[in-house]
Structure formats: C-alpha cells, structure tokens
C-alpha cells in the first residue's frame, strides 16, 4: 500500500518536474505561442470562410430554385433542357480540413441527356502561391505540432544523460516504466496546453457559428479528435523512442528532424504522385468522350443505340399496355415514353462509364492509404479529410446524389409530358404548377460507418504507429544507457 502511494508520488513529482522544465524553456514558450496563434488564426479564418461559403451557396441555391420555378409556360421537356443548377453544400467540419474543396467544382448544371461536371474550382482563380503553402487547422496539427514536439522533446533523455541526472534517477531505483510515464505525461501536458484551448474554440465554433448540421456531425467530430489524439500520442512516443535510443542530443535531433521531413513532406507527395501514376483513372475529358461515343454507338459489347432505345421503349409500352397499338396513342404519350426510354438508355451509358471511373478512383484511394505505413502523416491526413467530409470520396458521393436528383427531375418532366400532353405533342406547354413540383435536393453526408468502411486501412495504420512507437519507446527506455 505504502509502496503504491510512494510510487504515485514519484510519478507526480516526475510529471511536475517535466512540465515545469518545459514551461520554463524559452524556446517552448516562443514556439508554443506561435503554434497556438497559428492554430487559433486558422480556426477563426477557416470558420469565417466556411460561413461565407455556406451563406453564398444557400443563397445561390435559392436563386437557382427560383429561376426554375419562375419559368414561363413551355413544354416539360424543353424545361428539362433549360435545367437547373445545384450548388455543393460544404460539410460542417470542413473548416478543420478544407481537403479537396478548393480543387473541385461547386456548381453543377442539371439538364436532360447530360451528366455535367461540377464547375468552378476555387483554386483556379488564385495564384500558384495559394497552393504552395496553404495553412489550415489540419496542417498546423499534422505538421507544426509534431515539429514543436520534436523541438521540446528531442533531448528529453539525452540531456538528462548529458547532465548526469539520469544516473541519479537510476540510482534512486525509479523504474524505467515510471520514468517513461513521467516524460510521456509531461510532454502530453505541454501539448494539452496548446491543443485544449484550440479544441475548445473549435467546439465553440461548431456550436455557435456553424449550425450542428445533421446528426452525423457529433460522431464525426469525436472521431476526428480521437484520430488526432492518437496521431499526437504516436509522435510523443516516437520522440521518446528516438531520444532514448540516440547517443547524443544532437543525434536525436537530427534523426527526428529527418523523420519529420521524410514523413511529413516527402512521403505524402510521393504517395499522391505514385497513387495517381500507378492507379490510372480516366480523365474527365476521357470519360466525357467515352460517354459521347457510347451514346451514339451503344455500350461496348452491347446493342447499338437504336436497338437498345427501341427495346426500352417496348418495355415501357408494354408496361403501359400499348405494345403493338402505338397508332392508337396520343402523340405526347408516345413522345414522352420515347423520351423516357432515351433517358433510360443515356443513364445506362452514364452509369457504366462513371462506374469505371469510380472503381479506378477507389483503387487510387486505397493505394494512397497504404502509404500510411511509411508515414503517420499520410494516414492521419486521409482519415481527417474523410471525417471532415472533404475527401474525393465525399465529393463523388455528392456528385452521385446530384445525378440521382437530375434523373428524378427529368423523369418527372418527361412523365408529365407523356401523361398530360394529349394530342399536342411538342406543342404541349406546362406552367408554374409543374415547375413547383420539381424535387429539391436535400444532400446528407454519409454516416460515420461509411467513412470508417473506406478508411479502415488508415485507422489500422495509425493505431499501428501508436502501438509500435509505444512498444519501441518502452524497450528503448529499458535498455537505455544511463551514463
């Protein structure tokens, strides 16, 4: 009992000593203040940006919906050509990690016969400098915090050894595990001084400025915090491991800086480069050309356009009980059904070619995640973008649901044409009561389960880094020279 109490007081003394030393370190004070300031600035800036983006897109969406509803009387299919626009809403957590957002389009024209690309990537309207160095909350946590950690922690063992205090501690019979725990909690305490205020501010921003979004925000936010906690803990242990292993403070510093440069700067770019080169995906222009080609010739290996469209028309006629009795039909009903059959064929073609693209991009994504084995930065970045809802997969998720929405809209207009047009054919005109019936796109981000289902390699690799660094640190401390 007494033993445990004394052990606890030893622990407490060790932690307090570490914290005191770190907080008295002038370097930590300056660098810590800079990192904290950058963290708060990026938080505030990100939140402001996100708010304005959100307001702008909501207003734009309202205007676009109004435009559609305020159309003059016209044939429903002509209205489908006139089409409407949808604007991609930004996710609630995008202010933490803007991810791909600046590099993908935000507005999309929905019209008959075409799946248009999203247009208007923000990065295109900026200088190259804005891409050269983009500071975001995620960048600060993923790169600057570990660097700060290295700066204060590289000599955590070596300097004690160089000063001779390590020998004293050893002679007191303090267990290596207790020492490690003391150092670990000391460094973590120092990081907490920075990250807890930033975390509280982030939570406040989500709660006050940005509305809480769907029910998915809280689990995503918690998962994000957990992911970053694991990441930082892994770096703390890595720092302790290298410092315990190194022969001198200088060697520890050089090793850690080398790891940071390779892990934080080189591997992520190399990974992206390799993933894009290895898992080739067709370019948008290629996909568009393939779709165009298949629209005139039919899908590869399938019937040609005319055969397939008439096949689909027959099915529709059969469903409506008019097969073989086309001459008895109203002009509009026949035209409307033909338009539906045409749309169904177009959708088959679009689905086919976009599925090819999606498979290639998924392959690319998985390939990229594997590089998390070489650097925890890659793993945490991939996970964080996914949780913030700003990775390529989320972009495709939006694009797919916008496409489903387009089909609903076109289907509604074509059905109306077929059922109401009577003998008028293309002369039939519908009015505002039809435009008012147009569906409204309500986009919901996928669930946390969906995210983790795609990101499990990153999660596993991140935890792997933590476990390996922890085990390595413990081993290194047990075997550490004290003199």
């Amino acid at each position: 009992m007494a033993d445990r109490t004394s052990q606890r007081s030893v622990h407490r003394a060790l932690i307090l000593k570490e914290l005191r030393e770190i907080s008295r370190d002038g370097r930590f004070r300056v660098a810590g203040a800079v990192v904290l300031a950058l963290l708060l600035a990026t938080l505030a800036f990100g939140a402001r940006e996100q708010q304005s983006v959100k307001a702008e897109r909501a207003a734009a969406q309202a205007t676009a919906d109004d435009h559609f509803r305020a159309q003059d009387e016209k044939n429903p299919h002509v209205a489908a050509h006139y089409g409407t626009y949808v604007f991609k809403p930004s996710g609630v957590l995008a202010f933490v990690n803007p991810g791909v957002d600046a590099f993908v389009g935000v507005s999309l024209k929905l019209e008959a016969h075409k799946r248009n690309p999203l247009e208007g990537a923000k990065a295109r309207d900026g200088t190259a400098l804005s891409r050269f160095s983009r500071l975001s909350v995620a960048q600060v946590i993923e790169l600057l915090v570990p660097l700060l950690l290295i700066g204060i922690g590289f000599g955590v063992w070596t300097s004690e050894r160089e000063r001779g205090t390590l020998r004293q501690l050893a002679s007191l019979g303090v267990a290596p595990r207790a020492l490690l725990l003391g150092k670990l909690l000391g460094l973590l305490g120092a990081m907490a001084l920075l990250l807890v205020p930033a975390g509280l501010l982030g939570t406040a921003i989500v709660a006050l400025l940005v509305d809480l979004g769907g029910p998915g925000t809280l689990p995503r936010g918690l998962a994000l915090v957990a992911g970053y906690a694991v990441y930082i803990l892994a770096w703390v242990l890595l720092t302790l491991l290298v410092s315990a292993h190194a022969s001198s403070s200088r060697a520890a510093l050089v090793t850690l800086l080398g790891l940071w440069v390779v892990g934080g700067l080189v591997v992520p770019r190399l990974a992206a480069d390799a993933a894009v080169a290895a898992a080739r995906a067709p370019t948008s222009a290629r996909v568009a050309a393939n779709v165009r080609e298949s629209l005139t010739r039919g899908l590869p290996g399938g019937p040609d356009r005319e055969a397939r469209v008439s096949e689909l028309t027959e099915k529709l006629l059969e469903r409506h009980g008019f097969l073989g009795a086309e001459t008895l039909m109203d002009a509009s009903l026949l035209s409307g059904l033909e338009l539906q059959a045409e749309a169904a064929f177009e959708n088959e073609v679009i689905d086919h070619h976009f599925a090819v693209l999606a498979r290639a991009l998924d392959r690319q994504d998985r390939f990229l995640q594997l590089f998390g084995a070489l650097s925890p930065v890659v793993a945490v970045r991939s996970l964080s973008m996914a949780l913030a809802g700003t990775d390529g997969a989320h972009h495709r998720h939006f694009s797919d649901s916008a496409e489903r929405h387009r089909r609903e809209l076109v289907e509604l207009l074509n059905t109306e044409f077929a059922e109401r047009g009577g003998a008028l054919g293309f002369d039939y005109k519908a009015g505002r009561e039809l435009w008012a019936k147009a569906p409204v796109l309500r986009y919901e981000q996928p669930t946390l389960g969906w995210v983790l289902g795609r990101q499990w390699p990153s999660v596993a690799l991140l935890v792997g880094w933590l476990v390996l660094a922890g085990a390595g640190a413990l081993r290194a401390v047990r075997r550490m020279r004290v003199v």
Binding site: N75, V104, V266, H395, F426
Partner: protein
C-alpha cells in the same frame, strides 16, 4: 589560407559517409522529381498533338467535302461545310494550345489546374472547363512531387544538414582553438568551410537539377531555352547561397549544434511555410477572387430570357436542323450576343482580380526567399499565372476574330467557299520576349542575393564578437 582550409575540409568531407548519403539521396530525389514532372509534360504534349492532329484532319475533311459539293455532290444538312452557323459553332472549332515550356519538368505550377488546350467556337466562352478532373485530384491537393517542391522545400534542409554545425562542431570538439592558433581569421575559416560545402552541393544541384528536367521534359527545341536555363541556374545558385549564408549567420551568433539546428529549422519553417502561407492569406484578403457561384447565377439571371430561347431551339427534338432556317441562325447569334455582353464584365472581373493578385504576389515575394524561388521557377518553366493569362488573352482574341468571321457571313446569309477556308482565323501564340523573363527572374534574384550579402556582413561582425568573448 582560404584554399588550405578548403582542401583539408574537402578531404574530411569526402571521408564522411553521412555527407555522401545526404548528397546521393538528394540527387536521387531531384532526378525522380524531374522524371515525374517530365512525364506530366510529355503527357500534355501528347494530348496537345492529338488535338491538333484531329483539327487538321477535320479541316481537311471539311474542305474535301466542300470541293465535292461544289462539283455537284450530295449535301448533308447537319454537316454542311458551307453553312457558317454549323461550321463556326461546331465543325470548324479551333484548338488553341499552350505547350509546356522547355523547363516544364521543373514546376507544374498552375498547369494542372488551368487549361492548356482550349477549344474555340462561336459560342460564348464562359470559363474554360479543362484541367480540373478527378483523375489527378490526389496529386493536385497534396501538390506535385516536382522539382519546384524539392528545391524550394528540401534543398534548404540539405543545406542546413550540411552546415548547421559548421562552426559549433569545431567549438564542441575543441578543435577551434587549435585552428585559430594558426595564422587564419575566424571569418575566413568559416567561409572557406561553408564555401566548400556550397560548391559540392551546387555541383549536385546544378548537374542533376538542370540536366534531368531538360532530358525528362523533352522540350529542348524551344527557341528561348537559353534564357530559361540561365534564369533557372541563377535561381538555384542564389537560393542555395541564401541558406548557406543563413547557416553561417546562425553559427556566428549561435550556441550549441543542437541550438543552431533548431534555430535554422525554425527559420526554415518561418520562411518556407509560415510566411508564404500568411502572404497568400493577405493576397486573398486584399484581392478576393470573385465568386464562381455568384457568377453562375448572375449569368443565368442576366441572360435568362436569352438562355430560355436557346433551350427552346435545342429542346425541340423533331425540328429540322437549326440552320435550315437562316432566321433561326441569326436569332441564335443575337441571343448569344446578349448573353455575352452581360456576362463578359463578370468574366473580365475574374481576370482583372487574378492579375491584381499576381501583381501583389510579385511585390510581396521579397518577404521570403522561398516565394522568390518558387515564383521564379514557375516563370522559367512556363507554368506561372502570367503566361497562362497571356495565353487566355490570345485565345480571347482568336475567339473574337472567329466570331467576327462567321457572324458576318451568317448576317449576310453567305455560304462558305474554299477561299473562306483559307482565310479562317487560326490561333497564333505569342510568347513574351526572353528579356521579360530575365527581368522578372533577375529582380527576384536580387531578393535572394541582397539578404545573403547582408547576412555575410553581419556574420563577420558576429565572428569578431565571438573572438572578443573568447569563443564562449
């Protein structure tokens, strides 16, 4: 004495395996980056030549068909080569390309975002869709592993690794007192040691950094390769010199080797990551890009009736080809004119704002050598915003000429003849003169060399102070 130190230091450096490892590793990274950038440039060239071949074949076919029709052959209405509406809008589309520059492998710049091949028709040019596709998204977000990245980010770290302890190690080993017992000044000693390291590194950087991208990029045929390579080499020397001078300065005022390394990495972080990041925030805040989202609705709003008319023309499936009726073609021209006149000011605002942003970057670049080097590399590799804007302006000119040519004939109700085909406007690319490039890069170079010189002067003062304090 300088040369004696140079020689001795050279011998000890040659025996240092760590130095070899760093240099070799760096050279490999440089070559990899050059190959990766070169592959992108080559792919771009292939895509361009496909487009241009297609254009030539298309025009040849149109002219053949025209001759056949003139000789009494059959006319297909949808692809009538005599119809100015159809040819201007679709069949006679022109391809304008911005080929990768001779040093394209150095920097991807904005080339992976801004279109380098634009199709020109008589239709309104509302913003060129192009390079922003999903296939390379991962690379665009992280940034390409190109030479600009390797040289701007990693080269300073190699310099730091080679020289953070150029003086402090001698002090810590106790060899400095021995050295200074010889008839040599401390300044000369440190400068000689540093000069050797710089010379060795520069050999690697210049050899690998210039030869590899020239070979990999495959663009040696360009006319002004000389100016580009000269500017690029100047940037490499200037940027390397800056960081070595900084290392000397830190050593002159510094303490332990670890302290020096930390200070240098701190300055690196500040100049390469923080200052450029904040600069781009300042630029974005002072000259915010107009909103594309707003543009969509403004264009839609302004040209609502016009667009409704156009979709009326298109949505009417069963109708005869639009140009069967000359009035329809005229109306389409009119409708489009309305649409353009309302949207053009908004588009112009985008270009103007981007030009203002770039002008501000050009002034603020002197805040950090990393910005100077990065901007300079974008310029010499021909992937900077300026060259793209000039390209876009030239495309606008072609677009205007193209429209004038076809719209005049639509208004007159004229048919295109073989002679017209010879007169059709084509794209003419104008590259800025090499002197403009040298001026931009040269002024940037001053932004590297002046601070480097100042740091040398300060270091010499630091050495004197160090000696007067008895090397403690």
């Amino acid at each position: 004495m300088f040369w004696a130190v140079f020689r001795v230091e050279g011998l000890s450096l040659v025996r240092d395996r760590a130095v070899w490892a760093v240099l070799l590793g760096f050279a490999l990274v440089v070559v990899y980056a050059a190959l990766s950038g070169g592959a992108l440039a080559q792919a771009e060239r292939r895509a361009h030549s496909e487009l241009l071949t297609e254009e030539r074949a298309r025009f040849a076919a149109l002219q053949d068909e025209l001759v056949a029709i003139e000789r009494g052959g059959p006319v297909r209405h949808l692809t009538d080569p005599r119809d100015p509406h159809i040819v201007g809008r679709e069949l006679g589309r022109r391809v304008a390309t911005l080929p990768p520059g001779p040093l394209a492998a150095v920097s991807v710049g904005q080339r992976d975002l801004l279109p380098t091949a634009i199709i020109v028709t008589t239709e309104a040019r509302l913003g060129d869709s192009g390079a922003d596709d999903a296939a390379g998204l991962a690379r665009r977000v992280t940034g390409a592993f190109d030479l600009a990245f390797v040289l701007v980010f990693l080269l300073p770290l190699v310099v730091i690794a080679l020289s953070f302890d150029v003086l402090s190690a001698e002090r810590e080993r106790g060899t400095l007192a021995l050295v200074l017992a010889q008839p040599i000044r401390l300044g000369t000693f440190v400068l000689a040691k540093t000069a050797l390291r710089a010379a060795v590194l520069l050999v690697v950087v210049l050899a690998a950094g210039i030869v590899a991208p020239l070979v990999a990029g495959g663009g040696l045929s360009g006319a002004d390769v000389g100016a580009n390579v000269l500017g690029y080499a100047g940037l490499l020397v200037g940027y390397t010199a800056f960081w070595f001078c900084l290392a000397v300065l830190v050593n002159a005022f510094g303490s332990s080797s670890s302290g020096n390394a930390l200070s240098l990495v701190g300055v690196w972080l500040l100049l390469v990551v923080v200052v450029p990041g904040l600069t781009s925030v300042v630029v974005d805040t002072l000259h915010p890009a107009p909103s594309r989202v707003e543009l969509v609705n403004r264009a839609r709003d302004a040209a609502r009736e016009a667009e409704a008319e156009v979709s009326e023309l298109e949505g009417d499936h069963g109708a005869a080809p639009a140009s069967a009726d000359r009035d329809v073609a005229r109306r389409a021209v009119h409708v489009q004119g309305q649409l353009e006149s309302r949207v053009e000011p908004v588009i112009a605002a985008f270009h103007a704002q981007l030009a203002r942003q770039q002008a501000l970057v050009d002034r603020l670049r002197f805040l950090s050598p990393a910005i100077v080097a990065f901007e300079g590399m974008s310029d010499v590799s021909g992937s900077g915003v300026t060259r793209h804007q000039q390209f876009s302006a030239a495309v606008s000119e072609l677009h205007a000429e193209h429209k004038r040519f076809f719209f005049a004939r639509i208004e007159q109700g004229a048919r295109l003849t073989s002679a017209d085909y010879e007169r059709m406007p084509r794209f003419e690319r104008r590259e800025p003169p090499p002197s403009a490039l040298l001026w931009r890069v040269g002024s940037g170079l001053l932004g590297l060399l002046v601070p480097a010189g100042l740091m040398v002067v300060l270091s010499l003062r630091g050495f004197r102070g160090l000696l007067s304090r008895g090397l403690r």
